[in-house]
């Protein structure tokens, strides 16, 4: 049984309202790489007749907006959709909250990263919590008995092919062929007929949080003025650096 984790993330196209300590998006959409993960899962279903379920994670603000992606996933062929409300928090807490639900699946897919989670640790954290292997940066997946053969992108056109024992979790990075198109009439009829099951999980506030230690930020100076002045100042600085 396959599960895909789909996260609601800020829609960057529509812009954000940035306040002092908070970023407020106008709109949320599903994380693109998570949608890729749905594509892979649906392909596996077509190829190996595996049951595929999808779970949508969204904060309070995005809780309604995740529905569309889940319906889209059903229209593409996913057998069952859940959604769960998880406040904005760290990957570790999400992993902790979901681990019980995810235990029953032998293949779990999600995007390697998300636009609001560039470190790409959610998949690895969940895998750690479940004590199963994790491979990120995945481009293709095939099932062979109780193993999974994945192709991991190494960059520069190189790939690493890995054979992993099930159960395992994979972070998806790309697709081999463009995503399938869902006719809107089909999507609309799915919206009318299909149901998304709401899941309740407990997010522990007092679990240990893993902190990411950032290197100190370099000093940045903006040079103002007309081009000649800027050139003059720039030359001064470079001279200082060289000498």
């Amino acid at each position: 049984m396959i599960c895909v984790i789909v996260r609601a993330v800020p829609d960057l196209v529509e812009g954000l309202e940035i306040e002092e300590r908070d970023v407020r998006p106008y709109r949320y959409i599903a994380n693109e790489l998570d949608e890729y993960a749905v594509e892979h899962a649906v392909s596996l279903k077509e190829k190996y007749n595996e049951r595929v379920e999808v779970i949508g994670i969204a904060s309070e603000d995005a809780y309604d907006e995740i529905d569309e992606s889940l319906y889209m996933a059903i229209a593409k062929g996913v057998d069952k959709a859940y959604k769960v409300k998880i406040p904005k928090t760290t990957s570790y807490k999400i992993a902790d909250a979901l681990s019980d639900f995810l235990k029953k699946f032998d293949i779990i897919l999600t995007g390697t990263l998300a636009v609001d989670e560039f470190y790409g640790v959610l998949g690895a954290t969940i895998a750690d919590k479940l004590d199963i292997p994790y491979v990120g940066g995945v481009r293709s997946i095939e099932i062979e008995g109780d193993s999974v053969i994945v192709k991991k992108e190494l960059g520069g056109g190189a790939y690493l092919v890995l054979k992993v024992k099930k159960p395992a979790l994979f972070g998806i990075l790309s697709l081999e062929k463009p995503p399938r198109y869902v006719p809107i009439s089909k999507l609309r009829s799915v919206m009318r007929s299909a149901e998304i099951e709401e899941l309740k999980v407990k997010v522990e506030e007092d679990v240990l949080d893993v902190r990411f230690l950032e290197p100190p930020k370099p000093e940045v100076e903006f040079i103002d003025g007309d081009p000649e002045e800027v050139a003059e100042k720039l030359a001064e600085i470079i001279r200082g650096l060289i000498s």
Partner: protein, 372 residues
């Protein structure tokens, strides 16, 4: 891939002209982008309900040139639209068209620009919106004229002319959606219906009864699919030129040739209106290209190809620019934002001095002596 269609496909897609086809090949011979297989052979397949290889149907730009030449009223372009519908229903849509459709679905415009930014072009202009005034006419700006930098100038000029003529109008701004014309030509009827429902809701909310638009694509679908009262901005301009409210004072001493867009021309039989406007510009010399009026060829931007660009081997926009060069035109005049975008790109890619201008650009210049 061999797809055997159910017998009900004709009922399902409401297309009956197929049986009249006698396979004469006129459509294939006249089609500027045909790969030799379509439309004729696809129609033969469609007639027996057996389709091998859907793919080349996506070469079709829905320009209707073949309909014009079809001796049997088979309307090959409608048959191609039917095939596209079947493809869409099966989810087999080429990536560039899929991208177009998802952009329209998610962002209500072909390029996937932010919906919030639809009204941004009028930031520094005095353009009334439906929220803050009474109005007779809704100016439906359209996606290209709202977003694409290559035609934003035309949008601004239309705004100034409308203001100076004291037309009672307003725009929807951020609430404007996509008219869905090209979505329908692609055969994505579900999305088209969604857009139409949504647009009607918005029109109702703001009490819209009549629309003016500059885009032939919007014009066509409002007129023929929505059945709502719609007027072309050029019609308005034509009336005002005729009654003297618009004075064309400044000379435009150029050889101009006019490119008929599919949606003004073959879809709506508007051939002379833009030509009459051009002829009234002092100094302008109007010449005709080899393919003109009902035999005009498409710019390549129709049926969802505007977003990513036409993917076929033959670029009709380049053929068109060459035709304009053949008649020694300085200016290729268009009356459609999609044509302007496609033809301007083609003109740059063949590296020639042909300037692509909207009829509005030329009229504006003649009115105010500026803007070129």
């Amino acid at each position: 891939m061999v797809e055997v269609l159910s017998e009900s496909y004709q009922n399902k897609f409401g297309y009956e002209g197929l049986t009249r086809c006698y396979q004469c090949g006129n459509c294939t011979a006249i089609c500027p982008v045909s790969d030799g297989r379509f439309p004729r052979r696809l129609i033969a397949h469609l007639r027996w309900g057996r389709i091998e290889r859907f793919d080349e149907v996506w070469l079709c730009l829905q320009c209707k040139l073949c309909d014009e030449f079809c001796p049997r009223d088979t309307n090959p372009s409608l048959a191609m639209q039917t095939l596209k519908r079947i493809s869409v229903e099966n989810g087999s849509v080429p990536p560039h068209i899929g991208e177009f459709l998802m952009n329209v679905y998610r962002r209500r415009n072909p390029w996937g620009h932010s919906r919030m930014k639809r009204g941004e072009w009028m930031k520094d202009l005095n353009v009334p919106t439906v929220k803050d005034c009474e109005f007779d006419w809704l100016w439906f700006v359209g996606c290209a004229n709202s977003f694409d930098s290559r035609v934003l100038g035309v949008t601004e000029k239309i705004a100034r002319i409308l203001n100076e003529l004291e037309i009672s109008y307003a725009v929807l701004g951020r609430d404007e959606g996509c008219c869905g014309n090209d979505v329908k030509r692609i055969g994505e009827d579900g999305l088209f219906e969604l857009l139409m429902e949504e647009n009607f809701k918005v029109f109702k909310r703001y009490g819209v009864e009549r629309i003016i638009t500059h885009s032939p694509h919007c014009y066509n679908t409002f007129k023929n699919d929505y059945n709502i009262e719609v007027k072309l901005f050029l019609e308005l301009l034509h009336d005002f030129i005729n009654d003297g409210s618009v004075e064309l004072k400044h000379e435009f001493k150029k050889v101009v040739t006019y490119h008929d867009s599919c949606f003004l021309g073959r879809y709506n039989n508007i051939y002379e209106l833009p030509r009459e406007i051009l002829r009234s510009v002092p100094g302008l010399k109007l010449v005709e290209m080899r393919s003109n009026r009902r035999t005009s060829i498409c710019c390549g931007g129709g049926a969802g190809n505007i977003a990513v660009g036409y993917q076929g081997k033959v670029q009709p926009s380049i053929l068109r620019v060459k035709e304009a060069l053949d008649v020694n035109a300085d200016v290729l005049a268009v009356a459609c934002p999609f044509c302007k975008i496609m033809l301007e790109e083609a003109s740059k890619s063949v590296n020639c001095n042909l300037k692509v201008l909207d009829v509005v650009d030329i009229v504006y210049h003649s009115m105010y002596g500026e803007g070129l």
